[in-house]
Symmetry: C2
């Protein structure tokens, strides 16, 4: 009985910590997607936790932005899940994937800018490992089926996909690409790049 | 006479400051191109100036990396100067420009990584304004002469050039692209992206 009572607080504290972390990540995603310069104090306030609690979980703004990006990419990856990626002809599946990826990224593009100002591109790319595996699988299938080029390395084509999509987010934010032309521009850019050479 | 004597130290101090700044930028370019994590103290030592002097000119590591990147891009831009950019057929001129740009960037790719870890992509792009104007001029000529596509916005094509070349530097540094294949991969990637649609 004493043992049980002594142990009780540990899972309770852990559950508290998990709730705090979830609230911080939710608030961080929301605030940074609205304003890439949102402060740690603003995020703590919106999450309903104290700054000391926040810093207990994320010791720096960099650590917080890193965790928020990871959280947002995981949510985005679930939305990307669509069976057409494995069944439609590869160029059509690529156009559909780009449309869905852009829709999510556009909503979170300021969060991506916050990440870009805080983290190295290499680190940002690491967080995108799961969605980029989908892209890689699709390009590999398109190569096998003769729809996509095989004269450039597969990892390079995946990298160009990643940088082209993220360039679009930056151009959109800077006002150099209009909202209604981004998807067409992305699809034409990637399909030209993937088309087998003459 | 007194007036002259009183004024003398000012240009002398200014000349001293200019010499210090030049030495810091030279050492910064050299050290950061070898190791993107080079410290402010290492750079001050290599430049033969005290840390106080260095911080007097560049109040943070970020300010120093920003100035070193600007310095390196200016030097690089002089090397890119080549009359073939305005005379050779546009696809051939693009291949030549990519070759020269890659040669310089490959040498300084660790400095670029240092910049990427410290500055926002938007800021890094601003430093490349002069070389990117050359790229824009060449793509515009290729469009007029019917060698390059006109169905995507010109600023977008310039942006894709910038991100593709910088992705190559990152892939090369990460060991995902072999040294002897980068130039071919870059040229094929950009020419596929610029080719007019069927």
């Amino acid at each position: 009985m004493v043992k049980t009572a002594a142990r009780q607080p540990v899972p309770a504290r852990r559950a508290d910590a998990e709730r705090s972390i979830a609230a911080i990540l939710e608030a961080g995603t929301r605030l940074l997607s609205a304003d890439p310069t949102a402060s740690v104090a603003d995020i703590a306030k919106a999450a309903g936790v104290g700054r000391v609690t926040l810093y207990g979980h994320f010791p720096s703004r960099e650590a917080l932005v890193d965790a928020v990006l990871d959280h947002a990419v995981r949510m985005a990856d679930d939305v990307l899940e669509d069976e057409s990626i494995d069944t439609a002809p590869a160029p059509e599946a690529m156009a559909g994937l780009l449309g869905r990826a852009w829709e999510i990224l556009d909503r979170h593009r300021r969060l991506f800018l916050a990440a870009d100002r805080t983290l190295a591109t290499e680190r940002i790319r690491e967080h995108h490992e799961r969605p980029l595996r989908r892209v890689e699988r699709l390009i590999a299938r398109g190569r096998r089926e003769g729809d996509f080029r095989t004269d450039l390395p597969l990892p390079w084509l995946v990298t160009v996909f990643f940088s082209v999509v993220h360039s679009a987010a930056q151009e959109r934010e800077a006002g150099r690409l209009a909202a209604d032309e981004v998807e067409r521009v992305l699809v034409q850019t990637m399909l030209s790049l993937l088309r087998p050479g003459e």
